[in-house]
Symmetry: C2
Subunit: 157 residues, 2 copies
């Protein structure tokens, strides 16, 4: 089900700046894991690359075990609001899915930090589910106290 107006063609209410890129092993959609679980099973690591103007933002991240990465799924269409994923038994709204196709194609992943190089602006991470070169929007420290809900439930579709 499509939106009446495609957000990609709208004027926009605010703008984002790309502060870096994600370096992943995948340069084509056909190779790319469909989600973070698949990516983790693949066992391939990745790198978050931060552009020079923003590298000071990494100060104090040492010792942080996990980060939240926000990235811009720049190849995803934005005009669908209900979708029928191949793995699901019924159609679902985009807010009930983690599909990159959504009005604002912002993906979120919780990843393990394997290494940090502030001067080079890089964070080595255990896995990611996007194409090489995907634009980076933000990195945040992951706090188990508020971000971890081990007993959260999503019903089987």
């Amino acid at each position: 089900m499509a939106l009446g107006e495609d957000p990609a063609g709208m004027a926009g209410d605010a703008h984002v700046v790309f502060i870096g890129r994600i370096r992943s092993p995948w340069s084509e959609r056909s190779q790319c894991p469909k989600n973070l679980r698949q990516a983790r099973e693949d066992g391939a690591t990745a790198t978050v690359e931060i552009d020079p103007p923003y590298r000071d933002g990494l100060l104090g991240l040492d010792g942080v075990s996990h980060v939240i990465v926000l990235y811009w799924m720049d190849r995803a269409r934005r005009d669908l609001i209900v979708q029928h994923p191949r793995h699901a038994t019924r159609a679902k709204g985009v807010f009930a899915l983690r599909s990159p196709v959504r009005p604002n194609p912002i993906a979120m992943a919780v990843v393990k930090v394997l290494g940090l190089d502030q001067a080079a602006g890089t964070i080595a991470i255990d896995a990611i589910d996007c194409l090489d070169g995907t634009p980076l929007l933000d990195v945040k420290p992951y706090y188990a106290s508020t971000d971890a809900v081990p007993d959260a439930v999503v019903p089987q579709s």
Copy 2:
């Protein structure tokens, strides 16, 4: 420490659309909890309001216990890259902080769903740490399998 160029004044690499608003009990910064832990301790619930064109996106969210909410901290400046929060003993980069002040002022909260009204476009949630009327960017289902890391560590600052 300020950035050489303020992202707020840059052309932007992509645009976001506001798909709704967050209704919270706080209309002034002085009342607003500083983070989600504080908000939860306050015990005040909140509501995610989705605008009519996007309400079909809630289809299939019933039964989901927790959602990830992405919202746009529209009052936050974007030009600081290192900050010294009042509670911290030393200055930190924005990627080591959950401060709303960052190049892309996107906040992320994991919240409990208390109620869902697809026709009205509302999700009642247990807590939020932003001002009433804060623009909404996205809602995603929370998957414990990939989003919950109970043993994640952030060293004491």
